[in-house]
């Protein structure tokens, strides 16, 4: 049995599993996601346990969506129809879902809805950017709370459902890698199950439509709702908590997320006892609570990961007080914050304490991430490397195949976001064609990524007439994020039907171990006047 279903009083949970447990203790009925690390295990655990017992089978539904926007929309539909819902995704997913995310806060939700979003400061499992998703709280007027560890994660998810139900608004629980992938003992309460009884309400026709001029009044109502949540919840909530309250002299710290624990650890190490306001609420910010702290101290150090959103807010609040606000001049904006960063920062105000560390072996060979033994991509990239003309432009995309960037292959000239290998590849090839340059373009894309965002990009190639060679790597699975199923997996292979349905004429399905056939086809397709597609089909060894 998965530990997330333990009926003990206490068990050790991964942060992401604590999200699942919190949702199950709140009686969640419908959960959707699209995989993405560091949020992947939220969906994976829901998937693993969805049929684990009779109660779950009867009262709970989980699904992997085609992409984050679709997964969110699915959760919205379920919520509007009467179900308690959860949607989870990694930070980049929020960008994809954003188009539906913003109106969602305008309409609000008739039932509890929590969104779990995990950011990745330090880019441990993400390539594209060090996105700070807290900015979406401002843009969408999304209530957002930030737990620091698995116990808090479970508690905050339950609290988020309460706020959501009370104010009819979705609540975002914002995690980071070090919270999602942290384990600790977590106190457990009973699981709750609510019978699924769906009925889409038709009595208030305007409720779920954002249509001007109604949109503007919805915007206004949303702003009022946020003010109310600030006054009635954030200002009085125990998740904003003062620690070491009676200690210290003229300095205090304001910290959020896992940085709070690094602050406490650094203090222990340095023998300090500085008061710390731990902020659980990020948006709306408990302004009065912060002002209380500002009135008592001369110096405040704000410790938060990535961009200085809290620091900026605190600086505005501080203008009526005789207090200095410090932050990013002592702590990094890029990269994660670790205990040693806090130790160094505090060393500017208190007696510094040096770390006694052994010297690293500089000559030690670096291990690059690479393809598993037996991975079908070995065959594919080997062949491509052999036959593609030297100045071919290689379009990368998001998946295991982006490891072709590393030696020995080094087959990646650009990398952006899911589906962009084809999107950008079209722009490159079109421009080359316009100038009569015969340089070739090969864009790689995985099967899951093809369904996620590749299809519109391929349609664009056909409609706007360019001719890159697109290689769809069908390994039957979403490998990189932990081997989740991809759409259509239990049906006939359907990718070629989609591709030819779009109007692609140069199309071949090849098993990459047939290297001769692959070679000849690449050579042939690189000289076609219209877009061409090779579906390189061989299962990942983790695909069932």
């Amino acid at each position: 049995m998965h530990e997330v279903l333990d009926n003990k009083k206490k068990t050790i949970l991964l942060g992401n599993d604590a999200v699942v447990r919190g949702a199950l203790e709140s009686g969640v009925q419908f959960a959707a996601t699209y995989p993405g690390t560091p949020a992947s295990e939220i969906g994976d655990t829901f998937y693993l346990i969805r049929n684990a017992n009779k109660e779950l089978k009867e009262n709970f539904h989980f699904e992997y969506g085609t992409n984050e926007k679709v997964a969110l929309e699915s959760a919205i539909g379920a919520n509007f129809s009467g179900l308690k819902t959860m949607m989870s995704m990694k930070h980049f997913g929020v960008n994809v879902a954003a188009d539906s995310l913003l109106p969602l806060f305008y309409t609000g939700v008739p039932n509890g809805m929590v969104l779990a979003i995990s950011d990745d400061p330090g880019c441990f499992s993400s390539a594209q950017s060090e996105q700070n998703s807290r900015a979406y709280a401002y843009m969408a007027h999304a209530p957002m709370i930030e737990p620091a560890d698995p116990q808090e994660t479970k508690d905050y998810v339950k609290y988020a459902y309460q706020i959501s139900e009370k104010y009819n608004i979705p609540v975002i629980v914002r995690l980071t890698t070090r919270v999602s992938h942290q384990r600790m003992p977590v106190d457990l309460d009973d699981l709750k199950f609510n019978k699924i009884e769906a009925d889409f309400p038709k009595d208030k026709p305007d409720q779920f439509s954002t249509m001007p001029p109604y949109t503007i009044s919805q915007h206004k109502e949303l702003l009022e709702k946020i003010d109310k949540i600030r006054e009635q919840e954030a200002e009085v909530s125990e998740i904003n908590k003062m620690h070491n309250e009676d200690a210290g002299d003229d300095m205090a710290i304001i910290a959020s997320g896992v940085s709070f624990h690094h602050v406490m650890e650094a203090q222990k190490f340095m023998g300090l006892n500085i008061p710390v306001l731990k902020l659980g609420w990020f948006y709306p910010l408990p302004e009065k609570k912060i002002k209380e702290v500002l009135s008592k101290f001369k110096k405040i150090l704000v410790v938060e990961e990535l961009e200085d959103y809290v620091e900026k807010e605190v600086k505005i609040l501080a203008k009526d007080y005789d207090v200095e606000i410090l932050g990013k001049e002592y702590l990094p904006t890029a990269g994660e914050i670790r205990p040693e960063n806090v130790i160094e920062a505090l060393g500017s105000f208190y007696p510094p304490k040096k770390l006694e560390v052994l010297e690293e072996e500089k000559e030690l060979a670096k291990r690059f991430p690479g393809f598993c033994p037996g991975c079908p991509y070995w065959f594919l990239f080997n062949t491509v490397k052999q036959v593609a003309p030297k100045n071919t432009v290689f379009g990368g995309d998001i998946g295991c195949y982006m490891m072709a960037y590393f030696p020995p292959f080094k087959l990646q000239d650009y990398l952006f976001s899911m589906g962009s290998g084809i999107g950008i590849g079209h722009g490159v090839k079109k421009s080359l064609n316009l100038s009569g340059n015969n340089q070739k373009v090969i864009a790689f894309i995985g099967d899951s990524t093809f369904f996620h965002a590749g299809i519109p990009a391929l349609v664009n190639c056909v409609e706007n007439k360019s001719n890159p060679l697109i290689i769809i790597m069908d390994n039957s699975i979403t490998a990189m994020t932990g081997h989740q199923p991809r759409p259509g997996i239990d049906k006939e292979p359907n990718i070629e039907k989609i591709v030819s349905g779009i109007g692609v004429k140069n199309l071949k399905v090849i098993d990459p171990i047939n290297q001769e056939e692959l070679k000849e086809t690449i050579k042939d397709f690189l000289n076609k006047e219209e877009v061409s597609v090779i579906i390189s089909r061989r299962c990942c060894k983790f695909a069932k």
Partner: protein, 189 residues
């Protein structure tokens, strides 16, 4: 008690997460606090993996302060060496001797040995790979074997009973017996 800081380092796929789960469960059974930090996704793909584990009372950060590590279990020598930036003079290194080559690089064993000799604290080089391969016909038990070694030699504040119980509660039933054997096997070393 002082909080106990452990790093398990290895190459993706060597089973560090299972080890971490067993250790966490054992700590919980002994009524100790526990926190750990691990990485998933890209970081796992055949690359270096380092997990931080902390056992004790009222643990704050899931990350160990550089220099404050009590024990490093290196499932591979180069990966053990890679954690030096977290080790101090008193850190104990427990290292599986078996080298996993880095892609595209010749293994220079004498160089690795030279680097290991430079470690100022206690170093235990154990051929867990060969021992488990020979006695259990499966070197995948190297990690559990090394954990057993650490427990039997009191390099870690966990009792063998709690580790065994934790193992039974954590691992799939089919594999429990062999894992218990690996733990016991470590007793004589």
């Amino acid at each position: 008690m002082n909080n106990f800081n452990l790093i398990i380092s290895g190459v993706g796929g060597q089973g560090t997460i299972t080890l971490l789960k067993v250790i966490g469960r054992a700590a919980l059974l002994q009524g100790l606090d526990f926190k750990s930090s691990e990485l998933h996704g890209l970081s796992q793909r055949g690359g270096s993996v380092k997990t931080h584990i902390r056992i004790g009372e009222n643990i704050s950060s899931p990350l160990i302060i550089p220099g404050e590590t009590d024990l490093i279990i290196g499932l591979e020598p180069q990966e053990a060496l890679r954690t030096k930036s977290f080790a101090g003079k008193k850190t104990v290194f427990l290292i599986n001797e078996k080298v996993i080559p880095v892609q595209g690089k010749e293994v220079d064993k004498s160089e690795i040995e030279k680097w290991i000799k430079k470690i100022p604290g206690e170093v235990k080089l154990i051929n867990a790979f060969s021992i488990t391969q020979e006695k259990l016909k499966n070197s995948l038990y190297s990690g559990i074997f090394l954990l057993g070694y650490a427990v039997h030699n009191k390099l870690i504040p966990l009792s063998i009973d709690s580790v065994k119980k934790a193992l039974e509660e954590t691992i799939k039933p089919d594999y429990i017996e062999e894992n218990l054997k690996a733990l016991d096997l470590a007793k004589g070393f």
